[in-house]
Protein backbone atom coordinates (compact mmCIF):
# COMPACT_ATOMS: atom_id res chain seq x y z
CA UNK A 1 0.00 0.00 0.00
CA UNK A 2 2.75 2.44 1.03
CA UNK A 3 4.78 1.49 -2.03
CA UNK A 4 1.88 2.19 -4.35
CA UNK A 5 1.39 5.62 -2.80
CA UNK A 6 5.12 6.29 -3.02
CA UNK A 7 5.13 5.57 -6.75
CA UNK A 8 2.00 7.66 -7.31
CA UNK A 9 3.42 10.67 -5.46
CA UNK A 10 6.89 10.30 -6.94
CA UNK A 11 5.45 10.08 -10.44
CA UNK A 12 3.23 13.11 -9.82
CA UNK A 13 6.15 15.11 -8.41
CA UNK A 14 8.31 14.38 -11.44
CA UNK A 15 5.52 14.85 -13.98
CA UNK A 16 4.38 18.17 -12.52
CA UNK A 17 7.98 19.29 -12.16
CA UNK A 18 8.55 18.67 -15.87
CA UNK A 19 5.30 20.43 -16.71
CA UNK A 20 6.48 23.54 -14.86
CA UNK A 21 9.36 24.10 -17.25
CA UNK A 22 8.38 22.19 -20.40
CA UNK A 23 4.63 22.20 -20.80
CA UNK A 24 3.85 21.15 -24.40
CA UNK A 25 0.28 22.47 -24.31
CA UNK A 26 0.63 25.92 -22.89
CA UNK A 27 3.35 28.49 -22.39
CA UNK A 28 1.27 30.36 -19.87
CA UNK A 29 3.29 31.34 -16.76
CA UNK A 30 0.20 30.93 -14.55
CA UNK A 31 -0.10 27.30 -15.67
CA UNK A 32 3.55 26.75 -14.81
CA UNK A 33 3.01 28.24 -11.38
CA UNK A 34 -0.01 26.01 -10.78
CA UNK A 35 2.01 22.94 -11.75
CA UNK A 36 4.67 24.05 -9.28
CA UNK A 37 1.93 24.09 -6.61
CA UNK A 38 1.02 20.52 -7.59
CA UNK A 39 4.70 19.51 -7.39
CA UNK A 40 4.89 20.93 -3.87
CA UNK A 41 1.67 19.18 -2.87
CA UNK A 42 2.93 15.81 -4.15
CA UNK A 43 6.19 16.32 -2.29
CA UNK A 44 4.14 16.92 0.85
CA UNK A 45 2.53 13.56 0.13
CA UNK A 46 6.00 11.96 0.03
CA UNK A 47 6.78 13.54 3.40
CA UNK A 48 3.59 12.06 4.83
CA UNK A 49 4.69 8.62 3.64
CA UNK A 50 7.93 9.14 5.59
CA UNK A 51 5.83 9.96 8.70
CA UNK A 52 7.13 13.53 8.59
CA UNK A 53 3.74 15.13 9.11
CA UNK A 54 5.21 18.36 10.42
CA UNK A 55 7.36 18.81 7.32
CA UNK A 56 4.41 17.97 5.08
CA UNK A 57 2.17 20.52 6.77
CA UNK A 58 4.84 23.21 6.73
CA UNK A 59 5.65 22.45 3.11
CA UNK A 60 2.04 23.07 2.11
CA UNK A 61 1.63 26.02 4.46
CA UNK A 62 4.77 27.91 3.50
CA UNK A 63 5.42 26.98 -0.11
CA UNK A 64 2.02 26.22 -1.58
CA UNK A 65 0.09 28.58 0.65
CA UNK A 66 2.30 31.64 0.86
CA UNK A 67 5.27 31.63 -1.51
CA UNK A 68 3.35 30.41 -4.55
CA UNK A 69 0.48 32.83 -3.92
CA UNK A 70 3.00 35.67 -4.03
CA UNK A 71 4.48 34.13 -7.21
CA UNK A 72 1.04 34.18 -8.79
CA UNK A 73 0.51 37.71 -7.54
CA UNK A 74 3.70 38.89 -9.26
CA UNK A 75 3.10 36.87 -12.43
CA UNK A 76 -0.35 38.34 -12.83
CA UNK A 77 0.99 41.87 -12.60
CA UNK A 78 3.43 41.18 -15.46
CA UNK A 79 2.61 41.32 -19.13
CA UNK A 80 1.50 37.72 -19.64
CA UNK A 81 0.77 37.95 -23.37
CA UNK A 82 4.40 38.75 -24.10
CA UNK A 83 5.56 35.81 -21.99
CA UNK A 84 3.30 33.44 -23.89
CA UNK A 85 4.69 34.58 -27.23
CA UNK A 86 8.32 34.40 -26.16
CA UNK A 87 10.44 32.07 -28.32
CA UNK A 88 13.20 29.84 -27.03
CA UNK A 89 16.61 31.34 -27.65
CA UNK A 90 19.95 29.61 -28.09
CA UNK A 91 21.62 31.09 -25.02
CA UNK A 92 18.71 30.06 -22.85
CA UNK A 93 18.81 26.48 -24.10
CA UNK A 94 22.59 26.28 -23.71
CA UNK A 95 22.45 27.64 -20.14
CA UNK A 96 19.66 25.24 -19.25
CA UNK A 97 21.48 22.21 -20.66
CA UNK A 98 24.73 23.09 -18.86
CA UNK A 99 22.92 23.81 -15.60
CA UNK A 100 20.73 20.72 -15.56
CA UNK A 101 23.59 18.55 -16.86
CA UNK A 102 25.98 19.53 -14.10
CA UNK A 103 23.36 19.07 -11.37
CA UNK A 104 22.47 15.67 -12.84
CA UNK A 105 26.16 14.70 -12.89
CA UNK A 106 26.56 15.64 -9.23
CA UNK A 107 23.42 13.71 -8.36
CA UNK A 108 24.48 10.57 -10.24
CA UNK A 109 27.93 10.63 -8.64
CA UNK A 110 26.46 11.13 -5.16
CA UNK A 111 23.98 8.32 -5.62
CA UNK A 112 26.65 5.99 -6.95
CA UNK A 113 28.94 6.63 -3.97
CA UNK A 114 26.27 6.51 -1.28
CA UNK A 115 25.30 3.17 0.13
CA UNK A 116 21.58 3.24 -0.55
CA UNK A 117 19.42 2.08 2.35
CA UNK A 118 22.29 1.68 4.81
CA UNK A 119 22.37 3.38 8.17
CA UNK A 120 18.95 4.96 7.76
CA UNK A 121 17.31 6.11 10.96
CA UNK A 122 13.97 4.50 11.62
CA UNK A 123 11.16 7.02 11.31
CA UNK A 124 9.93 8.29 14.66
CA UNK A 125 6.22 7.67 14.87
CA UNK A 126 4.86 10.10 17.44
CA UNK A 127 5.53 13.60 18.68
CA UNK A 128 7.98 14.57 15.96
CA UNK A 129 7.28 18.24 16.48
CA UNK A 130 8.75 18.21 19.95
CA UNK A 131 11.76 16.15 18.86
CA UNK A 132 12.33 18.41 15.87
CA UNK A 133 12.26 21.45 18.13
CA UNK A 134 14.68 19.84 20.57
CA UNK A 135 17.13 18.95 17.81
CA UNK A 136 16.88 22.40 16.25
CA UNK A 137 17.64 24.13 19.52
CA UNK A 138 20.42 21.83 20.70
CA UNK A 139 22.29 19.95 18.00
CA UNK A 140 21.68 22.37 15.13
CA UNK A 141 21.42 25.62 17.08
CA UNK A 142 24.19 27.45 15.21
CA UNK A 143 23.00 26.65 11.65
CA UNK A 144 19.46 27.49 12.74
CA UNK A 145 20.44 30.90 14.07
CA UNK A 146 22.63 31.61 11.03
CA UNK A 147 19.68 30.80 8.77
CA UNK A 148 17.52 33.29 10.64
CA UNK A 149 20.23 35.94 10.16
CA UNK A 150 20.28 35.07 6.46
CA UNK A 151 16.53 35.67 6.27
CA UNK A 152 16.99 38.98 8.07
CA UNK A 153 19.66 39.99 5.56
CA UNK A 154 17.36 39.09 2.67
CA UNK A 155 14.58 41.14 4.23
CA UNK A 156 16.78 44.19 4.75
CA UNK A 157 17.98 43.82 1.16
CA UNK A 158 14.43 43.72 -0.16
CA UNK A 159 13.50 46.83 1.80
CA UNK A 160 16.62 48.59 0.55
CA UNK A 161 15.86 47.71 -3.08
CA UNK A 162 12.25 48.83 -2.82
CA UNK A 163 13.24 52.30 -1.56
CA UNK A 164 13.32 54.74 -4.43
CA UNK A 165 15.52 57.46 -3.04
CA UNK A 166 18.15 56.51 -0.53
CA UNK A 167 19.06 59.26 1.82
Amino acid sequence: MQDIFFYIFAFLTLLCGVMVVANPFSRNPVTSAMFLVLTIASMAGLFVLLHAFFLAAVQVLVYAGAVMVLFLFVIMLLDLKEEERRKLNTYGIAAAVIGVGSIAAILVKTLAESKVGEGLAMPVKQGQVKELGNILFTQYLLPFEILSVLLLVAMVGAILLSKKDLK
Binding site: A66, F73, M76
Partner: protein, 366 residues
Amino acid sequence: MFDWINNLSPGMQTAVWATIKILGVLFLAVLPMVSYYVMAERRISAWIQDRVGPNRVGIPLTKIKLFGLGQPAADAVKAILKEDFMPAHVRKVYFWLAPMLTLIPAFMVLAVIPFGSTLGAQKMVIADLNVGILYTFGIVSLGVYGIVLAGYAANSKYPFLGGIRSSAQLVSYELAMGMSVVPVFMLVGDLNLSSIIGYQQGTLLGFLPNWLIFKLPFCFIIFLISAFAETNRLPFDLPESETELVAGYNTEYSSMKFAMFFMGEYTNMIAASAMMVTLFFGGWTLPFAGLDQPATTIMGGFLHIGIFIGKMLFFMVLFIWVRWMLPRFRYDQLMDLGWRRFVPFALANILFYAVYIWATTSGAAN
Protein backbone atom coordinates in the same frame (compact mmCIF):
# COMPACT_ATOMS: atom_id res chain seq x y z
CA MET B 1 -26.08 -3.02 13.46
CA PHE B 2 -22.34 -2.38 13.38
CA ASP B 3 -21.30 -5.95 14.24
CA TRP B 4 -20.03 -6.73 10.77
CA ILE B 5 -17.45 -3.95 11.09
CA ASN B 6 -15.90 -5.52 14.17
CA ASN B 7 -15.17 -8.67 12.16
CA LEU B 8 -12.96 -6.78 9.71
CA SER B 9 -9.21 -6.30 10.05
CA PRO B 10 -8.13 -3.23 12.09
CA GLY B 11 -6.98 -1.34 8.98
CA MET B 12 -10.29 -1.94 7.25
CA GLN B 13 -12.18 -0.95 10.40
CA THR B 14 -10.44 2.41 10.50
CA ALA B 15 -11.19 2.94 6.82
CA VAL B 16 -14.88 2.05 7.23
CA TRP B 17 -15.31 4.26 10.29
CA ALA B 18 -13.52 7.13 8.57
CA THR B 19 -15.83 6.81 5.58
CA ILE B 20 -18.90 6.76 7.82
CA LYS B 21 -17.66 9.84 9.68
CA ILE B 22 -16.85 11.74 6.49
CA LEU B 23 -20.25 11.00 4.96
CA GLY B 24 -22.00 11.76 8.25
CA VAL B 25 -20.24 15.08 8.78
CA LEU B 26 -20.70 16.11 5.18
CA PHE B 27 -24.31 15.16 4.58
CA LEU B 28 -25.83 15.31 8.04
CA ALA B 29 -24.01 18.36 9.33
CA VAL B 30 -22.12 20.54 6.88
CA LEU B 31 -24.37 20.63 3.83
CA PRO B 32 -27.62 21.22 5.77
CA MET B 33 -25.78 23.76 7.90
CA VAL B 34 -24.51 25.61 4.82
CA SER B 35 -27.94 25.80 3.25
CA TYR B 36 -29.65 26.97 6.44
CA TYR B 37 -26.76 29.31 7.15
CA VAL B 38 -27.53 31.12 3.88
CA MET B 39 -31.17 31.20 4.89
CA ALA B 40 -30.27 32.51 8.36
CA GLU B 41 -28.13 35.20 6.81
CA ARG B 42 -31.06 36.39 4.68
CA ARG B 43 -33.50 36.34 7.57
CA ILE B 44 -31.20 38.05 10.05
CA SER B 45 -30.16 40.70 7.53
CA ALA B 46 -33.84 41.35 6.83
CA TRP B 47 -34.50 41.60 10.55
CA ILE B 48 -31.62 44.05 11.05
CA GLN B 49 -32.80 46.19 8.14
CA ASP B 50 -36.45 46.02 9.25
CA ARG B 51 -37.58 43.96 6.24
CA VAL B 52 -39.44 40.65 6.13
CA GLY B 53 -36.98 38.41 4.29
CA PRO B 54 -37.69 35.04 2.68
CA ASN B 55 -40.60 33.64 4.70
CA ARG B 56 -42.83 32.11 2.03
CA VAL B 57 -41.40 28.82 0.77
CA GLY B 58 -42.71 25.87 2.73
CA ILE B 59 -43.75 22.41 1.63
CA PRO B 60 -44.35 22.44 -2.15
CA LEU B 61 -47.94 22.20 -3.49
CA THR B 62 -49.42 22.95 -0.07
CA LYS B 63 -50.10 26.19 1.73
CA ILE B 64 -47.89 25.25 4.68
CA LYS B 65 -45.21 27.92 4.99
CA LEU B 66 -43.09 26.68 7.92
CA PHE B 67 -41.57 30.18 8.35
CA GLY B 68 -39.90 29.87 4.95
CA LEU B 69 -37.80 26.87 5.90
CA GLY B 70 -38.18 25.46 2.38
CA GLN B 71 -36.17 28.32 0.94
CA PRO B 72 -32.77 26.52 0.82
CA ALA B 73 -34.29 23.70 -1.26
CA ALA B 74 -35.75 26.24 -3.67
CA ASP B 75 -32.37 28.01 -3.89
CA ALA B 76 -30.58 24.75 -4.61
CA VAL B 77 -33.02 23.76 -7.35
CA LYS B 78 -32.65 27.20 -8.88
CA ALA B 79 -28.85 27.02 -8.83
CA ILE B 80 -28.84 23.62 -10.51
CA LEU B 81 -31.46 24.35 -13.16
CA LYS B 82 -30.22 27.78 -14.18
CA GLU B 83 -28.24 28.06 -17.41
CA ASP B 84 -24.54 27.65 -16.78
CA PHE B 85 -23.38 30.53 -18.89
CA MET B 86 -19.73 30.70 -19.82
CA PRO B 87 -18.60 33.97 -21.40
CA ALA B 88 -16.58 33.58 -24.62
CA HIS B 89 -13.46 35.34 -23.34
CA VAL B 90 -12.77 33.23 -20.25
CA ARG B 91 -9.86 30.81 -19.81
CA LYS B 92 -11.86 27.60 -19.73
CA VAL B 93 -9.66 25.28 -17.66
CA TYR B 94 -9.23 27.76 -14.84
CA PHE B 95 -12.86 28.79 -15.09
CA TRP B 96 -13.81 25.19 -14.27
CA LEU B 97 -11.08 24.69 -11.72
CA ALA B 98 -11.67 27.81 -9.59
CA PRO B 99 -15.02 26.89 -7.97
CA MET B 100 -13.70 23.42 -7.09
CA LEU B 101 -10.54 24.88 -5.57
CA THR B 102 -12.71 27.12 -3.41
CA LEU B 103 -14.94 24.35 -2.14
CA ILE B 104 -12.46 21.48 -1.59
CA PRO B 105 -10.13 23.18 0.96
CA ALA B 106 -13.17 24.49 2.82
CA PHE B 107 -14.40 20.91 3.34
CA MET B 108 -10.93 19.51 4.02
CA VAL B 109 -10.40 21.79 7.02
CA LEU B 110 -13.32 20.14 8.79
CA ALA B 111 -11.50 16.79 8.81
CA VAL B 112 -9.35 17.56 11.87
CA ILE B 113 -11.94 19.29 14.03
CA PRO B 114 -13.04 17.24 17.07
CA PHE B 115 -16.77 17.93 17.00
CA GLY B 116 -17.60 15.66 19.95
CA SER B 117 -15.92 13.45 22.51
CA THR B 118 -16.82 9.84 21.81
CA LEU B 119 -19.83 8.03 20.44
CA GLY B 120 -19.65 4.42 21.50
CA ALA B 121 -16.00 3.50 20.95
CA GLN B 122 -15.36 6.06 18.21
CA LYS B 123 -13.62 9.38 18.73
CA MET B 124 -15.69 12.08 17.10
CA VAL B 125 -13.01 13.46 14.82
CA ILE B 126 -12.34 12.32 11.28
CA ALA B 127 -8.55 12.53 11.41
CA ASP B 128 -6.88 12.98 14.79
CA LEU B 129 -3.62 14.37 13.37
CA ASN B 130 -0.85 15.30 15.76
CA VAL B 131 -0.14 18.40 13.67
CA GLY B 132 -3.83 19.39 13.64
CA ILE B 133 -3.52 23.17 13.66
CA LEU B 134 -0.71 23.24 11.11
CA TYR B 135 -2.80 21.09 8.80
CA THR B 136 -5.69 23.52 9.18
CA PHE B 137 -3.55 26.52 8.34
CA GLY B 138 -1.97 24.70 5.42
CA ILE B 139 -5.33 23.85 3.89
CA VAL B 140 -6.84 27.26 4.62
CA SER B 141 -3.91 28.86 2.85
CA LEU B 142 -4.76 26.82 -0.26
CA GLY B 143 -8.25 28.34 -0.35
CA VAL B 144 -6.85 31.52 -1.88
CA TYR B 145 -6.12 29.73 -5.19
CA GLY B 146 -9.82 29.37 -5.94
CA ILE B 147 -10.34 33.11 -5.69
CA VAL B 148 -7.14 34.12 -7.48
CA LEU B 149 -7.77 31.72 -10.34
CA ALA B 150 -11.41 32.79 -10.59
CA GLY B 151 -10.23 36.35 -11.05
CA TYR B 152 -7.63 35.28 -13.58
CA ALA B 153 -9.94 32.92 -15.48
CA ALA B 154 -12.63 35.55 -15.97
CA ASN B 155 -10.14 37.50 -18.07
CA SER B 156 -11.83 40.83 -17.45
CA LYS B 157 -10.99 43.80 -15.30
CA TYR B 158 -13.13 43.70 -12.18
CA PRO B 159 -12.82 39.99 -11.38
CA PHE B 160 -9.09 40.29 -11.95
CA LEU B 161 -8.82 43.16 -9.48
CA GLY B 162 -10.85 41.13 -7.01
CA GLY B 163 -8.50 38.17 -7.39
CA ILE B 164 -5.36 40.28 -6.95
CA ARG B 165 -6.80 41.99 -3.89
CA SER B 166 -7.76 38.71 -2.30
CA SER B 167 -4.34 37.15 -2.75
CA ALA B 168 -2.71 40.09 -0.99
CA GLN B 169 -5.37 40.20 1.71
CA LEU B 170 -5.36 36.48 2.50
CA VAL B 171 -1.58 36.20 2.65
CA SER B 172 -1.36 39.22 4.95
CA TYR B 173 -3.98 38.05 7.39
CA GLU B 174 -2.81 34.45 7.38
CA LEU B 175 0.38 35.72 8.97
CA ALA B 176 -1.43 37.48 11.80
CA MET B 177 -3.77 34.50 12.23
CA GLY B 178 -0.92 31.99 12.34
CA MET B 179 0.99 34.02 14.89
CA SER B 180 -2.09 34.58 17.04
CA VAL B 181 -2.31 30.86 17.84
CA VAL B 182 1.37 30.38 18.67
CA PRO B 183 0.73 31.17 22.39
CA VAL B 184 -1.90 28.40 22.32
CA PHE B 185 0.76 25.92 21.24
CA MET B 186 3.17 27.22 23.85
CA LEU B 187 0.67 26.94 26.68
CA VAL B 188 -0.76 23.55 25.69
CA GLY B 189 2.49 22.09 24.41
CA ASP B 190 0.79 20.18 21.61
CA LEU B 191 -0.51 20.82 18.10
CA ASN B 192 -3.22 18.18 18.31
CA LEU B 193 -6.69 19.72 18.51
CA SER B 194 -8.02 16.98 20.80
CA SER B 195 -5.25 17.68 23.32
CA ILE B 196 -6.05 21.38 23.14
CA ILE B 197 -9.63 20.57 24.13
CA GLY B 198 -8.31 18.22 26.82
CA TYR B 199 -6.26 21.10 28.21
CA GLN B 200 -9.41 23.22 28.55
CA GLN B 201 -11.23 20.83 30.90
CA GLY B 202 -12.11 21.96 34.42
CA THR B 203 -12.51 25.43 35.81
CA LEU B 204 -10.42 28.53 36.31
CA LEU B 205 -10.46 30.31 39.71
CA GLY B 206 -13.30 28.04 40.71
CA PHE B 207 -16.09 29.55 38.64
CA LEU B 208 -14.86 30.43 35.14
CA PRO B 209 -14.56 27.61 32.63
CA ASN B 210 -10.92 26.78 31.95
CA TRP B 211 -11.18 27.98 28.35
CA LEU B 212 -8.25 29.56 26.61
CA ILE B 213 -10.25 32.71 25.87
CA PHE B 214 -9.81 33.70 29.53
CA LYS B 215 -6.10 32.97 29.45
CA LEU B 216 -5.27 34.30 25.99
CA PRO B 217 -7.82 37.03 25.24
CA PHE B 218 -5.59 38.97 22.83
CA CYS B 219 -4.88 35.84 20.81
CA PHE B 220 -8.59 35.37 20.42
CA ILE B 221 -9.17 38.97 19.31
CA ILE B 222 -6.49 38.74 16.62
CA PHE B 223 -7.76 35.33 15.55
CA LEU B 224 -11.36 36.51 15.34
CA ILE B 225 -10.60 39.58 13.25
CA SER B 226 -8.22 37.65 10.99
CA ALA B 227 -10.92 35.03 10.55
CA PHE B 228 -13.23 37.71 9.17
CA ALA B 229 -10.52 38.72 6.71
CA GLU B 230 -9.72 35.12 5.78
CA THR B 231 -13.33 34.28 5.02
CA ASN B 232 -13.79 37.48 2.97
CA ARG B 233 -16.58 38.73 5.17
CA LEU B 234 -17.49 42.30 5.87
CA PRO B 235 -15.83 44.50 7.08
CA PHE B 236 -13.07 42.87 5.00
CA ASP B 237 -14.88 41.71 1.87
CA LEU B 238 -12.66 43.73 -0.45
CA PRO B 239 -12.28 40.94 -3.04
CA GLU B 240 -15.97 41.18 -3.84
CA SER B 241 -16.87 44.71 -2.80
CA GLU B 242 -19.99 45.41 -4.85
CA THR B 243 -19.67 49.17 -4.90
CA GLU B 244 -16.41 49.18 -6.80
CA LEU B 245 -15.88 45.73 -8.36
CA VAL B 246 -19.41 44.65 -9.44
CA ALA B 247 -19.19 41.30 -7.63
CA GLY B 248 -15.42 40.85 -7.59
CA TYR B 249 -13.91 37.52 -8.53
CA ASN B 250 -17.24 35.78 -9.15
CA THR B 251 -18.72 38.41 -11.47
CA GLU B 252 -18.58 36.14 -14.55
CA TYR B 253 -19.93 33.07 -12.80
CA SER B 254 -23.49 31.83 -12.88
CA SER B 255 -25.62 28.89 -11.83
CA MET B 256 -23.97 26.00 -9.96
CA LYS B 257 -20.45 27.36 -10.31
CA PHE B 258 -21.54 30.52 -8.55
CA ALA B 259 -23.33 28.42 -5.95
CA MET B 260 -20.06 26.58 -5.31
CA PHE B 261 -18.30 29.84 -4.48
CA PHE B 262 -21.18 30.67 -2.20
CA MET B 263 -21.02 27.28 -0.48
CA GLY B 264 -17.25 27.65 -0.16
CA GLU B 265 -17.65 30.97 1.63
CA TYR B 266 -20.21 29.64 4.08
CA THR B 267 -18.29 26.41 4.68
CA ASN B 268 -15.25 28.53 5.44
CA MET B 269 -17.25 30.47 7.99
CA ILE B 270 -18.45 27.23 9.58
CA ALA B 271 -14.88 25.96 9.70
CA ALA B 272 -13.65 29.23 11.20
CA SER B 273 -16.39 29.08 13.87
CA ALA B 274 -15.46 25.48 14.64
CA MET B 275 -11.78 26.45 14.96
CA MET B 276 -12.59 29.29 17.33
CA VAL B 277 -14.73 27.01 19.49
CA THR B 278 -12.00 24.36 19.53
CA LEU B 279 -9.08 26.66 20.23
CA PHE B 280 -10.55 29.21 22.61
CA PHE B 281 -13.94 28.02 23.88
CA GLY B 282 -13.27 24.52 25.10
CA GLY B 283 -14.63 22.57 22.13
CA TRP B 284 -17.29 20.09 23.25
CA THR B 285 -16.67 20.66 26.97
CA LEU B 286 -18.83 22.45 29.50
CA PRO B 287 -17.31 22.92 32.95
CA PHE B 288 -20.20 21.53 35.02
CA ALA B 289 -22.08 18.25 35.51
CA GLY B 290 -19.05 16.28 34.38
CA LEU B 291 -19.52 17.38 30.79
CA ASP B 292 -15.81 18.08 30.43
CA GLN B 293 -14.93 14.38 30.46
CA PRO B 294 -15.27 12.17 27.36
CA ALA B 295 -18.76 10.70 27.17
CA THR B 296 -19.34 7.14 28.31
CA THR B 297 -22.87 6.73 26.96
CA ILE B 298 -24.33 7.24 23.51
CA MET B 299 -26.61 10.00 24.82
CA GLY B 300 -23.63 11.77 26.40
CA GLY B 301 -21.84 11.57 23.06
CA PHE B 302 -24.74 13.20 21.26
CA LEU B 303 -24.96 15.82 24.01
CA HIS B 304 -21.30 16.75 23.42
CA ILE B 305 -21.89 17.08 19.70
CA GLY B 306 -24.87 19.28 20.53
CA ILE B 307 -22.76 21.47 22.84
CA PHE B 308 -20.14 21.87 20.13
CA ILE B 309 -22.72 22.86 17.51
CA GLY B 310 -24.39 25.21 19.97
CA LYS B 311 -21.13 27.05 20.59
CA MET B 312 -20.48 27.16 16.86
CA LEU B 313 -23.88 28.69 16.18
CA PHE B 314 -22.94 31.64 18.37
CA PHE B 315 -19.97 32.50 16.15
CA MET B 316 -21.86 31.75 12.97
CA VAL B 317 -24.50 34.29 13.97
CA LEU B 318 -21.74 36.70 14.97
CA PHE B 319 -20.38 36.53 11.41
CA ILE B 320 -23.79 37.50 10.04
CA TRP B 321 -24.44 40.17 12.64
CA VAL B 322 -21.10 41.92 12.03
CA ARG B 323 -21.66 41.86 8.29
CA TRP B 324 -24.82 43.93 8.56
CA MET B 325 -23.58 46.29 11.26
CA LEU B 326 -20.17 47.47 10.08
CA PRO B 327 -19.13 49.33 6.89
CA ARG B 328 -16.33 48.09 4.67
CA PHE B 329 -12.68 49.02 5.19
CA ARG B 330 -10.78 50.84 2.47
CA TYR B 331 -8.05 48.71 0.89
CA ASP B 332 -5.12 50.69 2.27
CA GLN B 333 -6.74 50.68 5.72
CA LEU B 334 -7.06 46.91 5.48
CA MET B 335 -3.38 46.44 4.62
CA ASP B 336 -2.37 48.95 7.27
CA LEU B 337 -4.39 47.13 9.91
CA GLY B 338 -2.96 43.77 8.88
CA TRP B 339 0.71 44.61 8.62
CA ARG B 340 1.27 47.58 10.90
CA ARG B 341 -1.10 46.77 13.74
CA PHE B 342 -1.80 43.04 13.89
CA VAL B 343 1.58 41.57 12.96
CA PRO B 344 3.55 43.60 15.56
CA PHE B 345 0.76 43.08 18.09
CA ALA B 346 0.79 39.31 17.52
CA LEU B 347 4.59 39.24 17.83
CA ALA B 348 4.47 41.18 21.08
CA ASN B 349 1.76 38.81 22.27
CA ILE B 350 3.98 35.78 21.57
CA LEU B 351 6.88 37.39 23.40
CA PHE B 352 4.68 38.27 26.36
CA TYR B 353 3.40 34.72 26.79
CA ALA B 354 6.86 33.28 26.23
CA VAL B 355 8.21 35.38 29.07
CA TYR B 356 5.16 34.54 31.19
CA ILE B 357 5.60 30.80 30.67
CA TRP B 358 9.34 31.06 31.30
CA ALA B 359 8.75 32.98 34.53
CA THR B 360 6.02 30.73 35.88
CA THR B 361 7.49 27.31 35.13
CA SER B 362 10.36 26.01 37.16
CA GLY B 363 13.60 25.22 35.40
CA ALA B 364 13.30 21.52 36.11
CA ALA B 365 10.11 21.19 34.03
CA ASN B 366 12.02 19.66 31.18
